[in-house]
């Protein structure tokens, strides 16, 4: 995966957040056998090479009153998708913008963007604005508003060493489902 074992341990140690103590890097370092100075240097390096996109306060939009979010998906001709993606990704109310594969015939959309807003109308206005400012009038799209949030947490890329095999990890609740 391109990360050294030491960096994998560092990623695992910080992925759920830094400890809220006066010297968090010293505490993280102590868990994985690095000095405070080395820990800061490695975090700096992971930021510099783009493994970490940003380091800071990660807010939950929903709890802050941004109650509506929609995934706007677009069917963009392949030769235009990079260009359109960059244009959409540069707009400030867009929080994610990815190219993903189509799965025909069920799923024709290849560009995904996440739009937040304080309510549903605000999200729809933002999408209308997006269509105009990015010249997307001829690009078919759909808007998938979220209803219930069943789970949200930081992505866990690296499991603990004791991660059980999939079969063992199969939850009790999974059994007996139709």
């Amino acid at each position: 995966m391109g990360l050294s074992t030491q960096d994998q341990r560092l990623v695992a140690a910080i992925q759920c957040g830094l400890p809220l103590v006066p010297r968090p890097y010293a505490e993280i370092g102590a868990r994985i056998g690095l000095s405070e100075e080395e820990t800061i240097a490695r975090v700096q390096a992971l930021l510099a090479d783009g493994t970490i996109k940003r380091l800071g306060v990660v807010v939950r939009h929903h709890e802050l009153g941004y109650r509506a979010n929609a995934m706007a998906v677009w069917n963009v001709p392949d030769e235009q998708v990079d260009d359109v993606g960059r244009r959409i990704g540069a707009v400030d109310f867009v929080t994610l913008c990815y190219r993903r594969p189509r799965r025909l015939p069920d799923w024709p959309y290849n560009l995904f963007s996440m739009i937040h807003g304080q309510d549903r109308d605000a999200v729809m206005r933002n999408i209308e604005h997006l269509v105009e400012c990015c010249g997307l009038q001829d690009i078919p799209h759909e808007v998938l508003f979220s209803r219930r949030r069943f789970k949200q947490c930081g992505a866990h890329y690296i499991g603990s060493p004791a991660r059980p095999a999939i079969a063992e990890a199969m939850p009790e609740t999974a059994r007996g489902l139709p």
Binding site: L20, K53, L55, I88, Y98
Partner: protein, 149 residues
């Protein structure tokens, strides 16, 4: 939300100081004490407004991940969501208004593990999935500007 909390939420979404005492550096910028900053962040975390103070990773630089969609019959949705949630590899599991009404992200240490897990979910539910791994990323995450009423 008090004035300190608003600034803690808005001003430090990126560029957390890489100094031995980052919260003391923040306190200096805010004109408060280190204890105020740590206490404020703890409270915001406990209230669920802050997910964490830490890194946002660039997707797919570590391990494998995919956005997975399922079209779940309405009367099975809660049970399927619960089943899916129970996997530690699953996060961001949402119901969405569409024929494909359940959307979640699966992350795993390897591509093989990821595929085995998605297949396992299909077997457990008897439903098919759309697995839509990221192919390119166009958004540069600089945090999200908050608007206070």
């Amino acid at each position: 939300m008090n004035a300190l909390e608003k600034r803690l939420l808005n001003d430090f979404q990126r560029d957390l100081p890489l100094t031995p005492r980052p919260f003391a550096s923040m306190a200096e910028a805010l004109g408060v004490t280190e204890e105020d900053v740590i206490g404020g962040l703890r409270t915001l975390t406990e209230r669920g407004v802050v997910s964490r103070v830490g890194p946002v990773f660039r997707p797919q630089r570590c391990g494998a991940s995919s956005l997975v969609a399922m079209a779940v019959p309405e009367d099975q949705l809660e049970a399927v969501a619960e089943l899916v949630n129970a996997y530690p590899e699953v996060n961001h599991n949402y119901e969405r208004e569409h024929h494909f009404n359940l959307w979640f992200v699966v992350t795993a240490d390897t591509e093989e593990h990821l595929q085995a897990l998605v297949k396992h979910i299909e077997q457990q539910t008897g439903l098919t999935t759309l697995s839509l791994p990221m192919q390119a990323e166009y958004h540069i995450d600089l945090g999200f500007p908050l608007q206070w009423d």
